[in-house]
Every structure is written in structure tokens, then in C-alpha cells.
């Protein structure tokens, strides 16, 4: 398990890769992601995604807040996989994904 704590300008977020036996890549995002740390989080996520294959899953169970910069980094990381699955997003984040018309790309895990 690899983990990285990211903090900038008081906004705190963390990225970690969770083990998964089904061959999927599961990346857990925690805390808050906004424009102040989206660059760092995005670079880290990109590094984790690089060299993996199979379905990409973002575990958002412990993610409290994400703005459009955060959505952009999810889109960026999942573009070459034909999208990604979101695990356990909060109702607020779920609503934003739906309202932005992105639920066909960032799919909610069944």
C-alpha cells in the first residue's frame, strides 16, 4: 500500500493505492481536494495509475469535498481507461457528478 499525504494552503488531502484481488486499480482519495492541492493530488494519482491496467476505481468514501479541479483530475486519470468507477461518494459529490452530466464517465460502483 502506497500512501501520500498532501497538504497545501491548509487544504488537506491524501492519496493511497488500496490492494485489490480482482485485478482492478483502486485509488483512495481522502480529505478535501480543491484548486490549492488538485495539482499535487493529480500528479500523484497519475503516477499511481501509470503502468496499471484494468478497471480504475476511485474510493471516495473518506473524501469530504471536491471542486471542479478535483473532477478534472479524475477525468484526466480515467480518460484512457474509458472512465472510472466511484466507490462510496458522499451524496453531495454524487449530486455534483450527476448535475455535471459526468455519471456516464465517472460511474458509480454498483
Amino acid at each position: 500500500m502506497e500512501e501520500l499525504e498532501l497538504e497545501r494552503d491548509g487544504t488537506r488531502g491524501s492519496v493511497e493505492v488500496l490492494p485489490d484481488i480482482s485485478g482492478r486499480t483502486v485509488i483512495k482519495l481522502s480529505g478535501e481536494i480543491d484548486i490549492s492541492n488538485a495539482g499535487l493530488v493529480g500528479a500523484t494519482v497519475g503516477r499511481f495509475v501509470e503502468g496499471t491496467s484494468g478497471t480504475l476505481v476511485f474510493d471516495l468514501t473518506d473524501l469530504q469535498f471536491m471542486d471542479s479541479s478535483g473532477i478534472a483530475l479524475l477525468l484526466r486519470a480515467s480518460a484512457h481507461r474509458g472512465g472510472a468507477e466511484l466507490r462510496g461518494p458522499s451524496p453531495t459529490i454524487r449530486r455534483v457528478i450527476e448535475a455535471t452530466g459526468l455519471s456516464s464517465v465517472l460511474r458509480f460502483e454498483p
Binding site: 471542479s68 448535475a99 452530466g101
Partner: protein, 538 residues
């Protein structure tokens, strides 16, 4: 940044430091003086006690003079002036190292006196008949012992005691030489060795004479005390002065120690105060400099913000076209805590006499890159619309210009073409918040638009073309999410807040927009906000 002197001048003492030092010095002086007078007082009292002690000791020794003489007089009376018996009775008291140099027996009869016997040296009284008459014939006083001072080359004291019998009376007269030159030191092991003294005798009809002293020069000066001791018909005056401090040298030094410590403490206190004053000054200087830095930062921040706002406004429409039957107004509010240019935009463009393009979009993120993407999307939209493309086609073409993987940004866009003649609106929504329709009576509803993929997410998205009819006297609000979103709050709460804020009546469209923004963002916007209002006139 202005250069500043960080350190105060090197040598000038501060007023406070000097004041503290002077205050300390005055206090030390007063303390020292008080200690000194207390010491002087106790020294004086102690001296008086010592002199009284010495006087008591002296008076106790005086009977040693009177007793052998009185005893000899009694013997003479009893033996009727027997010379041999007299001589043998006084012999132990006469001689070198003894109390008397000479003791003589005199017979006094009918106003004349006659020497009967002498033990020791011949009395000097013989050479002074006047003195002898005085001492033997003077009226009896309260004391049987009469004392006289015999002033010869070496002064003496003479003592006489008279015994009165039936056939005349006898007088016993003793003489003792006073110390040579009057000097007699107190023995070193005596309890009074720390004192100097002078002893005077006052005899009847004579002036005061020195008996003995331990000092070379008389009279005794300085701190002294005296006591008078009765001695026969005369008296002794004992005057004493301390050779050194009686209470002890330490106590004598106390005032000086107090003064010295006080002066040192005053100087230390003054220097300490000086140090504190300087530190304070230094701290103030540093605080001033920090203020300067903060001011400079604020200035840079303001400058950056001004640049961002200038750029932002340059990228947005300067004037909105006006139409008959349709009021259009727009507001752009920069995010309060950002110095970077944002990606929100709005645009209004008259396509022909009857058609108006209205666009509100939001490029994700902030910064120059987001702003340039916004600008290219804005002008591309105008170009496609001018070519006659409907909103769904315009947004599909925009998707060719933006790629979130390549550019790091995507954009939500609401694109509308308003038909002024029919009041119908063709709308395509690319992931954007739906517009709010506010009717004349305040009832409001979000337009039911088909939400498509934001621009820049997939290469060839397909967009729906919605056609909606807008009732007359209604107001349509098209906005970006900064108007309704709060961090950590559900989206629908913000949407409802907007509906509540629009439940106002009267006023122009501009006033309406200002009222809505003022109600939703009383403290300024956190994120950038673009809002366009359209009002169909009846």
C-alpha cells in the same frame, strides 16, 4: 521597500534608564543615611553604657584609698598618736608599686598642725603650707575623705582623713603620684581596651585637673561620653571615646555597604531598564518592518488582483447589446480570496434581428491557462453561432477544442439562442447548472434541460437540443455554480437558496440581479460568479 534603521543609537541612554538609575541612587543615599544614623544612635547609647560601667568599676575601687587611711586615723586616735604603731599599720600600703608614695600622721591642735610620723617619702604637702592648712582645717564636709591636687613637677593627689578625739584630733594624710605625663594605658586584656579615656579630678576650691589619660592629645574630640563619680569631697570626671566601632566593624561599615550595594544595584537597574527599552525599540522596529512587509504583500496582492480583474474584464464583453422586448443584464464577481484570473464567462451576441446568442460557461480551475481556454471557447462559440450553428452543434464543435487529458481543464457551458419574435429558446446544456425561470409573481422553477457531458471530457459527445417557451414578464437567470455552491453543502440547498432569493418583486433587471447577488453573497463571492439575466417585456 523603504530602508529602516533597525537598531537604536548605540550610546545614548534613554530617559527611562537614566530616571531609574537616578531614582535608585537617591534611594540608596537615603537608606545609607538612615542606616548610618541608626548606627550612630546605637553607638552613642552603647558608649554611654560602657562609660557608666567603667565609672561603676572605678567607684568600687575608691574605698581602697579611703580604708587604709581611715583605719590608720582610728589607730592614731586609739594609741594617742603612737608613731611606731602608726607606721607599722600603714606600711603595707606604702611604697613602690603600692597605693601610696607616702602616708603621714598629723596632730592638729588649736589651729596648728604638727607632723607626728611619716611612712614612705616625705609628703610634698610640706612644701606647700597653704595647701596643708586648707586640707586640714577646712570645714568638715559630708565625706570624711578630702582630696587635693598637688601640682608639682610630677603631679600628685593628696588624701586626708581626720579623726577627732577628746584631746585634739589627728589627721592621716596620704599622697600618690599621678602617672608620668598623665599617660596611663588601659591594659590590653581589659574589658575597656577598646576605649580611650581621660580622667579628671574636681577638688574643692581648685579647678579641674587631669589624673590620667590614654591619649596623647587632649581634650578628647569626636564621639565621647562622660560620667561623674563622687570621690570624697571631690569628684572624678571620666570621659571616654571609642577607639573603633563598638558595635563591631561590620556594623560600622553597614551604611557604606548599603550605599555601595545600592549604587551597584541602581546602575544595574538602569542598565537593565536600558536593555529592556532597547529591546522594546528593536521589537517595535521589527514590528514596523513586518508591517511594511505586510503592507508590501498587500500591495503586491492588490496589484496581482487588479491585474487578474483587468484581464478578466478584458476577456468578458464590455457592453451588452440591447433589444426590443428583451432586457439583458449581466454581472461578474471575482472570487474574494483569489489573485488568479478565473474561468467563468458569459456572452451575449445578436445573431440577426430576431436571434440572440446567450452563453454562460465555466472552465474548471483557475489561472491564466483556464482564462485562455475560456477566451478561446468564448470566441469560438461566437464564431460558430455567427455561422448559424444551433447550440447543440456549437457545443459539439467546442469539444474538439478542449481535452481534459491534454489541457487539464474541462468546461461546463450553457448555450442558448433566443428567438425574439416567438419568445422561444433553444438550449443546450453541457454539464452546467440549469437556468432559473422567475415568473412575475415570484414563482420560480429551474428549466428542465437535458444535461450533456461537459466540454473537453470525451472527444465526440452528443448534445440534446431543448426548445422551451418563456412566458412574458418572466426573468431567466443563467449563472455559474459560484452563485449557489458552498463548500461542504449539498447542491440542492444552494439551489433552493437561489429560488428564495429571487422571490422579490419590482425594480429593474439590474436592480433584481444586484438584489439576488447581494442576498446570496453578502460577504462577496468565494468562487468566481457569472450571472446573466434575461427579462421578456410585455
Amino acid at each position: 521597500m523603504p530602508a529602516r534603521q533597525a537598531w537604536p543609537g548605540p550610546s545614548r541612554l534613554s530617559t527611562l534608564g537614566i530616571a531609574v538609575m537616578l531614582g535608585g541612587l537617591v534611594l540608596s543615599g537615603v537608606l545609607s543615611w538612615t542606616t548610618r544614623s541608626l548606627y550612630g544612635n546605637s553607638e552613642g547609647k552603647l558608649l554611654l553604657l560602657r562609660v557608666r560601667d567603667a565609672g561603676s568599676l572605678l567607684s568600687v575601687s575608691l574605698p581602697g584609698i579611703q580604708t587604709p587611711l581611715a583605719s590608720a586615723a582610728a589607730t592614731a586616735l586609739a594609741t594617742n598618736g603612737n608613731a611606731r604603731q602608726f607606721t607599722s599599720s600603714v606600711a603595707p600600703s606604702v611604697g613602690r608599686g603600692r597605693r601610696f608614695d607616702s602616708i603621714s600622721l598629723w596632730k592638729i591642735q588649736a589651729g596648728s598642725y604638727r607632723l607626728v610620723a611619716v611612712s614612705g617619702l616625705a609628703p610634698h604637702l610640706l612644701s606647700s603650707p597653704g595647701r596643708a592648712r586648707t586640707i586640714f582645717q577646712s570645714a568638715p564636709s559630708t565625706s570624711p575623705l578630702r582630696v587635693t591636687y598637688v601640682a608639682t613637677s610630677q603631679p600628685r593627689l593628696g588624701y586626708a582623713i581626720t579623726a577627732t578625739g577628746t584631746e585634739g584630733h589627728y589627721a592621716v594624710y596620704g599622697e600618690a603620684a599621678l602617672p608620668r605625663a598623665g599617660r596611663l594605658q588601659i591594659a590590653k586584656d581589659s574589658a575597656f581596651s577598646d576605649l580611650d579615656y581621660a580622667l579628671y579630678v574636681n577638688t574643692r576650691g581648685q579647678s579641674s585637673h587631669l589624673v590620667a589619660t590614654s591619649v596623647a592629645r587632649l581634650p578628647i574630640r569626636g564621639e565621647s561620653a562622660s560620667v561623674r563619680i563622687p570621690f570624697g569631697d571631690a569628684s572624678l570626671d571620666l570621659v571616654m571615646t571609642p577607639r573603633g566601632p563598638l558595635v563591631g566593624t561590620f556594623f560600622a561599615d553597614v551604611p557604606w555597604i548599603v550605599l555601595a550595594v545600592g549604587v551597584l544595584l541602581s546602575i544595574a537597574a538602569g542598565l537593565m531598564t536600558e536593555r529592556l527599552v532597547r529591546r522594546r525599540k528593536l521589537a517595535e522596529n521589527i514590528a514596523d518592518q513586518l508591517d511594511d512587509v505586510a503592507t508590501e504583500n498587500q500591495r503586491l496582492y492588490d496589484e496581482q488582483r487588479t491585474i487578474a480583474e483587468t484581464l478578466q474584464h478584458a476577456l468578458l464583453p464590455q457592453d451588452l447589446p440591447q433589444f426590443e422586448g428583451l432586457d439583458i443584464s449581466a454581472l461578474y464577481i471575482s472570487g474574494s480570496d483569489s489573485v488568479e484570473v478565473g474561468g467563468d464567462w458569459y456572452d451575449v451576441l445578436a445573431l440577426d434581428d430576431d436571434h440572440v446568442l446567450v452563453v454562460v460557461g465555466d472552465v474548471s480551475g483557475r489561472g491564466l491557462r483556464a482564462a485562455t481556454i475560456m477566451a478561446s471557447l468564448r470566441f469560438a462559440t461566437r464564431a460558430y453561432a455567427q455561422q448559424g450553428d444551433p447550440p447543440d452543434a456549437i457545443l459539439a464543435k467546442l469539444s474538439l477544442l478542449l481535452d481534459v487529458v491534454r489541457d487539464g481543464h474541462f468546461a461546463t457551458v450553457l448555450c442558448m439562442v433566443v428567438d425574439l419574435s416567438t419568445g422561444k429558446v433553444a438550449i443546450t446544456n453541457a454539464g452546467h447548472p440549469a437556468p432559473l425561470l422567475v415568473e412575475l409573481r415570484g414563482a420560480s422553477a429551474f428549466l428542465d434541460t437535458t444535461v450533456g457531458m461537459p466540454v473537453g471530457v470525451v472527444e465526440r459527445p452528443t448534445y440534446a437540443a431543448d426548445a422551451l417557451a418563456i412566458p412574458r414578464d418572466s426573468t431567466l437567470l443563467v449563472f455559474t455554480d459560484g452563485l449557489i455552491e458552498r463548500r461542504g453543502e449539498a447542491l440542492d440547498v444552494g439551489l433552493q437558496r437561489l429560488r428564495d432569493a429571487t422571490d422579490v418583486s419590482g425594480g429593474s433587471l439590474e436592480e433584481f440581479l444586484s438584489a439576488v447577488v447581494g442576498s446570496l453573497l453578502p460577504g462577496g463571492a468565494e468562487d468566481d460568479v457569472a450571472i446573466v439575466g434575461l427579462r421578456w417585456k410585455s
